[in-house]
């Protein structure tokens, strides 16, 4: 695998995510008006900008990250209440969103971005940033016209806007344009139906309305033209200067100084692209699948059809009989094809987490160089398979967590040596199945959380009232609050306190949970639990009584045949079995599950000896009696919680070939509960 190939793949992911981010920013900004400044909207825009900036910096698109940094700073001031969301600010932000989109497209297609436009927007941003109290002061001197046509500001504009009837199909929304105009000044609108509109024959998806707008205020013509930029090629637009006494004239079709807007051709070309991104639903729920996998599926379906026709022959001559061998062969082929089909269908959704992990190698290397820290990245459980959707949604949160660990967790080499730790810090990313969940752990051996500093910061920010007493866990949880950061210096790496808030939200959206464990001076561990709704498991089917249970094949160490005499009783705890040199606790499943044992064991089986499945979790072994080992197969894990409740000792359920439900044993959970019982009753059971 060449590095270049890897990077191209990662870049593609970045562009895709950033495109989403830009859309989020844009739609957020468009919902923002000076009268309606919803803090959650600003937070959303800010988060999108922040993620994009981080990603751009990581992948070396420095022009994008530095440009976005200014935008982000403005947004930060807005959400902390230091800056009002004036029309001017919103307009500049919208313009910068377009610039970011332009730069992203340019980087992706390796073309040149419109540097003139970017520079002019950059100037506006700088002007805003240098001007801490922008209210009332117009940034006239730096406000360069973005579009080619420009005119002297007048007392206002009279605009006639008549979109073509198919305007909605292009993804453009006249309402949005009108809202944008309304944000510029005092506006009054008269809407009228087109002459050809016959109410009976109207198509609900067409637009028959045109608007006559009077926009009063000190507005440049270029700004008005800009609003219609995307729709100018499919609408009739007339913009006229508003005369002083003009205000009450309802009929606006006076032809004086009429000018068809003519947007620069480059932007006209961009219009359909814009329409496409806008009309696409926010989360389309689509996944990209390689052609190979689809071809494979098609092949298998093709073979299945052949097998079907082969088997159909037996239906035709069922009375002829005799060809039982042919039928058996056919069924065998059918079985194989069905299994392969199932596997490759599942493969489409499931991906090993390794692909997601490996992008951190680059991130850790670059960041540690930048920070002057020595960090070793350890990965484990790369083969744990995750549903593709879950995997994609987890990638942003994971980036945040890794960056946080690198930036705040692991100390500078000198500090580490002073603290008696090895110079090189260790960042450990791991993934595994546990208790019906997939667990992703990000742990470092860094400084850990400084709880007193967090508490102090929380009191400063007014999140916690002074004098309130909080438990350690409650203090740890403070870092998940929006806008919380203990970093003294805001850098372009982290410290704005958005990370953890977004991380938690994304994880909660997936129905997961995040826990933080931290010891001052020894490091922090973030444990993300995700439900495995769609995960698949290599299972060992076993029969206990008349029920079939499933163990994860990975948890089984071995299976031994034991006779009754080999099981010894330990007072108060239960039974142990001597497996070579270790005594391991053994249980009967029906005991663990409080189920009636009437049907479970027959005498004859007990005389012969019993099958003991030895399982292991977290380094601890235990034995479970089963009546029969059945086949091994991949099973789809279905949640019990969805319609019932989580059940202790079960990781979920699955549906077997005969349509019946089989329960999946939660080995870590069982081992843990045995452990607890022994701690309570007989701490030294292995010495028996």
């Amino acid at each position: 695998m060449s590095l270049d190939l890897d990077m191209a793949e990662i870049h593609a992911i970045f562009f895709e995510e950033s495109a989403e981010g830009v859309d989020v920013m844009e739609s957020g900004l468009l919902n923002l008006t000076p009268e309606n400044t919803d803090i959650e909207t600003i937070n959303n825009i800010f988060r999108a900008a922040h993620s994009m900036k981080g990603g751009a910096a990581t992948f070396g698109f420095l022009n994008i990250s530095s440009f976005t940094h200014g935008v982000e700073t403005i947004l930060d001031e807005m959400r902390s209440g230091q800056r009002d969301a004036t029309e001017e600010v919103i307009e500049v932000l919208l313009a910068s969103v377009d610039c970011i989109r332009d730069m992203l497209a340019a980087s992706q297609n390796q073309t040149e971005a419109d540097q003139g436009n970017i520079d002019s927007v950059q100037q506006k941003i700088d002007a805003l940033l240098n001007n801490k109290a922008p209210a009332g002061i117009k940034s006239q001197p730096v406000k360069k016209p973005v579009s080619a046509s420009s005119a002297v500001p007048s007392r206002g504009w009279k605009i006639h806007y008549a979109p073509e009837s198919n305007i909605f199909k292009t993804g453009n929304e006249p309402k949005r344009l009108l809202r944008e105009l309304a944000a510029m000044g005092d506006m009054s609108i008269v809407s009228s139906l087109g002459d050809d509109a016959d109410f009976d024959s109207m198509d609900p998806e067409s637009c028959y309305t045109s608007w006559d707008i009077e926009l009063r205020g000190d507005i440049e013509k270029a700004a008005v033209v800009d609003v219609f930029e995307w729709v100018s090629n499919q609408s009739e637009i007339r913009i006229e200067a508003l005369q002083k006494e003009d205000a009450d004239v309802p009929e606006n079709k006076l032809a004086e100084s009429t000018e068809q807007t003519d947007a620069p051709s480059a932007q006209v070309v961009a219009a359909p692209k814009q329409a496409a991104t806008q009309s696409a639903p926010k989360d389309s729920g689509s996944i990209r699948v390689s052609i190979d996998k689809i071809d494979m599926l098609l092949n298998l379906v093709g073979e299945l059809v052949i097998t079907q026709s082969m088997l159909a022959r037996f239906g035709d001559k069922e009375n002829a009989g005799g060809d039982a061998q042919g039928l058996r062969d056919g069924l065998l082929v059918l079985e194989r094809h069905t299994r392969e089909l199932q596997e490759s269908a599942m493969q489409i959704r499931m991906l090993p987490i390794g692909a997601s992990f490996s992008r951190f190698k680059r991130l850790v290397r670059d960041m540690s160089t930048k920070l002057g820290k020595k960090v070793e990245l350890k990965l484990s459980g790369e083969n744990t398979e995750l549903d593709k959707t879950v995997l994609e949604k987890m990638s942003d949160p994971l980036v945040h967590l890794v960056r946080n660990s690198l930036d705040h967790g692991i100390e500078m080499p000198a500090d580490r040596i002073a603290a008696g730790k090895p110079e090189t810090g260790v960042l450990h990313l791991s993934a595994y199945h546990e208790g019906g969940n997939i667990v992703i752990k990000v742990s470092d051996d860094g400084a850990g959380l400084n709880r007193s500093k967090i508490l102090q910061k929380a009191i400063e920010r007014g999140i916690v009232a002074a004098g309130e007493v909080l438990s350690d866990d409650q203090i740890n949880n403070l870092i998940f609050q929006p806008g919380f950061s203990t970093a003294d210096q805001v850098s372009d790496l982290s410290g704005r306190g958005v990370g953890m808030d977004v991380v938690r939200r994304n994880i909660l959206d997936l129905g997961g949970r995040i826990d933080l464990q931290s010891t001052l001076g020894q490091g922090s561990t973030l444990k993300i639990r995700l439900p495995l709704t769609l995960a698949i498991l290599d299972g060992q089917l076993v029969r206990v009584g008349d029920q079939v249970y499933i163990f994860s094949l990975l948890s089984i160490v071995e299976t031994v045949l034991v006779s009754k005499g080999q099981i010894s009783k330990v007072v108060g705890t239960g039974n142990v079995y001597r497996l070579r040199d270790d005594y391991i606790p053994v249980i009967r499943l029906h005991e663990a599950f409080n189920m009636s044992s009437e049907t479970l064991f027959s005498d004859s089986e007990e005389k012969k000896g019993e099958l003991l499945v030895v399982v292991e979790s977290d380094g601890k072994k235990m034995g479970l009696f089963v009546d029969e080992l059945m086949e091994q197969q991949q099973v789809v894990i279905k949640s019990l919680e969805e319609n019932y409740l989580p059940v202790k000792g079960l990781a979920g359920a699955t549906i077997l070939g005969d349509g019946n439900v089989a329960l999946i044993i939660d080995v870590p959970g069982l081992v843990h509960s045995i452990d607890m019982r022994q701690l309570e009753n007989a701490p030294q059971s292995s010495a028996a």
Binding site: Q547, A592, F593, N594, M595, K638, S639, L640, E642, N643, Y644, L645, V647, K648, G649, L650, A653, I655, G659, N660, V661, A662, L663
Partner: protein, 167 residues
Amino acid sequence: MSTENLQLSPADMLHADTNQYLTFMLNGEEYGVEILRVQGIQGWDTVTPIPSSPSYVLGVMNLRGAIVPIIDLRKRFAMQSIEFGPTTVIIVVRVENADKARTIGMVVDAVSEVYRVDEQTVQAMPDFGGNVRADFIKGLSTVDDKMLILLDIDKLLTIKDVTVAAA
């Protein structure tokens, strides 16, 4: 049906205050559930018992790919259990608890009819003085001189009962 109801036009019958109920038999009594909650009716099939569950939860079943808990209404209402016969069916319903919506199946003796019930004629359950659990009962209604017991199915599978039983 009361004379008052008989005078209503069909359009009036569609008034928001009337709801359709699917009724079923249980121990000789006729119970009703709102038909909009019913997702399907299916014959009795084997279930997989669930460990540490209350006795009225018979187990789980595969219902078009979903794992659905099946509860025995007779046991739930502390009635005497009977052998499942050919009319025994599972009514699959959607229940909503404070935390989320679930699909569950309830085993009943037989399904009966679909009636339209005017919500205004529904009477509250008379007070039996604490001996009878009236939690599950929304009220009583009369249709064709028969008494219908309208169920509040949202309370059939309550977290409290289940977790207490599992502890």
